[in-house]
């Protein structure tokens, strides 16, 4: 008879659910998730300090840091390394690459936060976190998650675009189509009733059909 390994299901955060609370040692001292209340937060993990893809990502995150802060978004990294390794690495990035890392980086040696957020992919690595991005809104709700494998560096324009799309959706109660960029037309949410569908067609939107309407902001 074939044997199966039974594993406890791992609970991971889900879009629309509260982000799990934590208190963690970081390169900027002990921080709690609650410290970011009122701001958006991008919490991202990287596999390891002093590795090439992660170094390019840290530089890229640092390059969009000011743009994120203009959007009321804070940034926080995480890996399963010590705070001393983090300090040495960010100092090395500044010295060798000329880029100052101003955002905090969690030293998650006991994997507590990584486990809480489902950042560990044992099939890929048992010792490193994958490249995860969690977008947490000012109320502490997880609004988006991105997972990349160890081999592939993340795309910063897409992260900025995601923030712009989420904030635009919140502000105007709209959705955004594929490949949307700020300034493009947005999607009017589909109607829920027959009457709404009829009214929709007379509302002056750019409609292909009753369920597919766009408008300018």
């Amino acid at each position: 008879m074939e044997e199966y390994t039974v594993r406890e299901p791992v609970s991971i955060p889900r879009i629309g659910s509260p982000a799990p609370s934590f208190e963690a040692v970081t390169t900027l001292g002990v921080l709690r998730l609650e410290d970011f209340k009122g701001s958006w937060l991008i919490l991202f993990s990287h596999p390891a300090d002093f590795t090439p893809v992660c170094t390019t990502e840290f530089i890229a995150f640092a390059e969009i840091h000011d743009e994120l802060r203009k959007r009321n978004v804070e940034l926080m990294g995480l890996s399963i390394d010590s705070v001393y390794a983090h300090i040495a690495w960010v100092r090395n990035i500044e010295e060798k690459m000329g880029v100052k890392i101003k955002f905090p980086v969690i030293a998650d040696l006991n994997k507590e936060v990584a486990t809480l957020y489902g950042m560990l992919m044992p099939g890929e690595s048992k010792t490193e976190a994958s490249r995860c991005v969690f977008v947490i809104d000012p109320n502490g709700i997880i609004r988006a998650m991105i997972y990349y494998p160890l081999t592939t560096g993340r795309n910063m324009p897409e992260i900025l675009r995601l923030i712009d799309a989420l904030q635009t959706s919140d502000k105007h109660s709209v959705a955004t189509p594929a490949n949307w960029q700020p300034g493009d037309d947005v999607i009017v949410p589909p109607p829920n009733t027959q009457e709404m569908a009829e009214e929709r067609m007379e509302a002056g939107y750019q409609c292909k059909d009753w369920y597919f309407c766009k408008k300018k902001l």
Binding site: G29, V30, F36, E74
Partner: protein
Amino acid sequence: MACIAPDGSVTRPGRKMLEAMKAPRALEDVALVAEIPLYRVRSVIRELLDAGLAEEKDGLYSITGKGLAKLM
């Protein structure tokens, strides 16, 4: 600790916050005056309160005599 060094001295963000709290302020105002992100202010204030360098009354935070002595 982030704002108190192992030798007991107050580090740069802690000093900037203590300076800002010479007048009682809400944390949001401390962040503005000290030019430190609010999330960091919330973290550092815990240490300053624990060390007795700052105190809170009615939601306003101010420097204590012990905190003033640290700025000398």
